[in-house]
């Protein structure tokens, strides 16, 4: 699944007001970036943006996320990763490693969306 397809799927599943989320996604992603597969860090960023921009879900404190030794590798996505971990939307690759650059399978992405929206 491309990044564009994932964003589309997410907005279709929500069916609410996604204008702010959409604007955020278009500002942060070029056409070329939208054609890329969805890595775990990208999925975290997209899901977290949805949580904040459209679903008004507040951040929670970091707990399990602190154990991930690669979480601090990504200043732009560290908190997004932490939030999807704390809410159980995406599983880490290993208990102490999120796996930022690992492309996600379609089933994992669909599952994350279902957990968030439902």
């Amino acid at each position: 699944m491309t990044t564009a397809a994932f964003i589309d799927y997410l907005t279709e599943e929500y069916r609410g007001d996604t204008a702010a989320f959409w604007k955020h996604m278009m500002a942060d992603n070029s056409e070329e970036m939208l054609m890329q597969p969805v890595t775990k860090k990208k999925a975290a960023l997209i899901l977290h943006a949805m949580m904040r921009d459209s679903l008004d879900i507040k951040d929670v404190d970091w707990d399990k996320a602190r154990k991930l030794k690669d979480i601090y590798d990504c200043r732009i996505c560290a908190n997004a990763v932490a939030q999807v971990i704390e809410r159980g939307l995406i599983e880490p690759e290993k208990p102490d490693l999120f796996g930022m650059q690992i492309p996600m399978e379609d089933e994992e992405l669909l599952s994350a969306v279902k957990k968030l929206i439902i």
């Binding site: 070329e32 890329q36 890595t39 601090y72 732009i76 102490d96 490693l97």
Partner: protein, 621 residues
Amino acid sequence: MLRPDKITKAGRFNSFDNNEILLGKKKNHLPAMGWNSWNAFGSGNTEALTKAMADKMVELGLDKKGYQYVVLDDGCYNPERIGGKLAAEPVKFPGGFKSVSDYVHAKGLKFGMYNDIGVKTCSGARVGICGYEDVDAKSYVEWGVDFMKVDNCYYPFDNATFSNSENAAYTFTPDIRAIKICGKKSEILSAVSDGRITGDRAHAEKDYVTGLGTFDGTGPDASPVGVRSSELIFDYEPSADNKTDNNEYQILVEYRSSKEEGRGDWLQLAVGDEYYYDDFLTKGLDAELSDKNLNDPDNRNNPVDNNMPDLDEAENKEAADKEFIWSEPVTVKLGDGISHIRIMNHRRQENTLNSYSRILKALNEAAPGHDIIYSACEWGKSHPQNWAYKVCDSWRILNDITFRVGSDGDPGHGDWKDDYTPSVTTQYNKAVIMDEFAGLDKGWNDPDMLMIGMDGLSEIQCRTHMTLWCMMNSPLMLGLDLRRVQKGDWIYNIIANDDVISINQDSLGVQAKRVFSTLAKECPDKEYIRDINRVDILVKPLSGDRFAITFVNVSEEDKKDSYSITLGEIQKFLGDRIKSADTYLVKDMWTGEETENNSGIFEVNGLKACDQVTIVVTPEN
């Protein structure tokens, strides 16, 4: 092909201690003060928000207090270059950067921007400066930039954040088992038994030496003091059998290369200060890595990358099982007597300095004489305290102070303590012993931007945060939504305190020294102490023979003991910068209380958790 530049003598490790400034970089800048968008709004900053912040800086009178720079951090660029040039993200910055710059300048403020020495910025925008220094410098000059913050993600010559983890091949030598010196005959010298390891972290394992390079300084695990890299040196005098008439010899190196932190493929071979080899050992590796670095690093087929060593277990085992091989011969000259043959790799520091230099060179060419304040944000990875003074005005010393930045409507989150870098105390613990690297003739250690105004920090903690950053001559970059601040509220009272700001901006330009710590064994000014259950005393010489003293309770528990320091004890550390007198006028920087001291003993009775008492002392005769 992307390859690191050849390094000139001025940019070599051997030149780091010579105090030489490069490229005419202007010095004598006091720490920069201003507002930066990152902690306040993350990548969600916009033109409207930036202008609102500029308005507030003037409305609150912060400009009169010294806050000058309005800095656009990551997230402001169109994710792709347009016509090969940088461009503003059109939704967030519809008027473009020049209009923002003009707006800021019209307010009497200065304008700052952000980029990255890598191929992308940390947010993933494909607008990193690498290879575009000349083009981008012209853009920045056109936009009227007064300040540049330059990050380190996607850097192609190191295993920086989001870079190919195999870039470690650039920054470490292979494992070294032996060298063979061929003159009239040949002699084999064992790395372990005949070589000597200098510096830190390289070590002998079985029959070889590993870890020759500069270790990664991004995390809080290591002190910033001392030599942060290693060399393997052979002190060699040719035997009578091997001695040549013309002093030329061939040296071969027995090595096992890899592409991981601690074990790479790039070898520097020097005799004294004369370099004879400075390149990869494996042919074709430069092209292979260049290809990987130029292709979108987020779109490689190999998912097992980006510094995920645990997922490379199979590869690591394979690397460890590889055979050692002999290199091609390198012709060197050895003098009469003992020569010091150096096997090393200082490219982590040298390449990074070179990349930051390229930007300065381009800015100089685009606008000769224009003095841009230059902030290196490579997170302490290559220990910039050793080299950044040559081209920059400040250098980040660690990874970020917070990873929970704010957004419009959310103040973000900061912590007082953390096991890693995101906390006030982690940054303070390292910066406080780095005073030897700072000064008007060099620049400033940068323990990252202020978190005052974020959730997670109390008023006391924010006040101590501000005080410590002032005492340590840190740049003072506000990172909050200034629309939340009113004159006279507690945040304003902290960020607008003229007295503590004057400590930071004192013309003497000397970073405070820690002269006491309850947990120091012998040298409170040099020991790297991470346990925060302690009280520190800092002293900062000021102009006019004055000096500032901060007593700080770093812990989260109230301390009931008294803590004192005498003038004599301070003078042991700071010498004749601290003047003796019969009477001292003492002013508390936060209460404003003024007292007289005739004893030369300065004392506090108890300190609340995370709190401080800061006084400025004026000797009177």
